[in-house]
Symmetry: C2
Subunit: 109 residues, 2 copies
């Protein structure tokens, strides 16, 4: 699967405040779907939809035991995210370095 799409899903998933609230909650520990819905004051259906998005982005992993689905944080998505930021930071900082070489050619710090 294209890495572009992957990153897309990641940022799109975290772009929604409700979904970030779910992530916040799951950072504290696993929860059921209805357990997530309660403090958010939205329907269980809505939460389930958000969970699909979060799972597709690999930010959350869920498994169903009996009739209850347990949701927990999935580190992969976050790792991917960190890498994206690190890559970009590296890119523009490298450029600033080269620029520094030219502008401050009589000895810099």
């Amino acid at each position: 699967m294209s890495p572009r799409i992957e990153i897309d899903r990641l940022f799109q998933a975290l772009g929604d405040p409700t979904r970030r609230a779910i992530v916040d909650r799951l950072s504290l520990g696993p929860s059921s779907v209805s357990g997530l819905a309660a403090p958010l004051e939205i329907t269980v259906t809505a939460v389930a939809q958000h969970l699909q998005v979060l799972e597709a982005a690999r930010l959350v992993r869920t498994e169903k035991a009996g009739r209850v689905r347990t949701c927990r944080i999935a580190p992969e998505g976050f790792a991917r995210l960190e890498r994206w930021i690190a890559d970009h930071r590296a890119q523009w900082e490298r450029r600033l370095d080269r620029l520094g070489d030219v502008l401050a050619e009589d000895g810099d710090d």
Copy 2:
């Protein structure tokens, strides 16, 4: 201003592929608005709108000299982003640690 809103703007800004393309481009070095528009095959107006979003999220800084507006990466937004991820990672990893004390098992990626 609430930090929630700030993070919101950040993820929402990067949730759009076109805006990420702009960030990609600017990581390589500064550019004018029309310089950004050309490879994206959208109107200059559209790019200007995206730039407003990116500036509000502190991911990009722009300044106008004469009739040309020069756009460059702004590190603050990215720093904010990194901190958000680090905070969350810390939170759930701390929890896994406590759990690990009890269960003593597994390692992850």
